[in-house]
């Protein structure tokens, strides 16, 4: 059951926050440099995978580490901690040949959002 959070705790709350990073020993599925294909998932429940990158091809830039998985956490189906990566997409791959050639989009994607491309 929810409780009352008292004024006395506010200063500490503001300064500390609440990271969603978890120290679980979970292996990453991808390494920086890997090519990925974003899964075409369309859950009716909560996801942090926007429609505009589904089915698109990107390249893993960086592994941010292990975080709570929002899709399951939102429906109290477990934290399912997994790696989150910064993934790069070219503007042309997302939006078509009219997009500026050099431009890029970087977005943070969970292991469960992607499949490897050989």
């Amino acid at each position: 059951m929810p409780t009352m959070f008292a004024a006395a705790g506010v200063d500490d709350l503001v300064k500390t926050g609440g990271s969603c990073r978890v120290s679980a020993d979970v292996k990453p599925r991808f390494k920086p440099g890997a090519k990925v294909l974003v899964r075409n998932i369309n859950p009716v429940s909560h996801t942090r995978l926007p429609q505009y990158v589904r089915g698109k091809r990107g390249v893993i830039q960086h592994d941010h580490g292990v975080f709570v998985f929002p899709d399951t956490n939102a429906v109290l189906n477990g934290e399912k901690p997994q790696h989150v990566y910064s993934v790069m997409f070219s503007a042309r791959d997302l939006w078509g040949a009219e997009a500026p050639e050099k431009d890029k989009l970087y977005i943070d994607l969970f292991d469960d959002y992607m499949d490897p491309i050989p």
């Binding site: 959070f5 709350l13 909560h46 429609q51 956490n73």
Partner: protein
């Protein structure tokens, strides 16, 4: 879900209302709503993902037309009703009382 909140790449949403020099809170109700969300979160009413999920269930027209902090009110109310902290009737009764200046 494929809701209206998933805005990336949509057209037709209008010009950006830059409004430089706008205050952090444009009305007192925004201040109260901001504080209530953080405290409800810290008090265990919902986790951050649940909070966002409830906002995403707003009717799309209402989502686009309402002020930002109204999204937060929608979610807070939804979770308070779900865990039994509040009922719709209680809220409406209190609104009536406040409107009459009785509370």
């Amino acid at each position: 879900m494929n809701g209206i909140h998933d805005l990336g790449g949509r057209h037709g949403m209008g010009p950006i209302d830059i409004d430089p020099g706008q205050p952090i809170f444009r009305a007192d109700w925004e201040r109260r709503m901001f504080g209530m969300f953080i405290l409800a979160f810290a008090g265990g009413h919902f986790n951050i993902d649940q909070f966002r999920a409830a906002i995403e269930l707003m009717h799309p027209a209402e989502y686009l037309e309402s002020d930002y902090y109204e999204h937060w009110l929608h979610s807070l109310e939804a979770w308070c009703k779900a865990n039994g902290s509040l009922t719709e009737q209680e809220i409406e009764d209190r609104v009536q009382k406040l409107a009459k200046g009785d509370a």
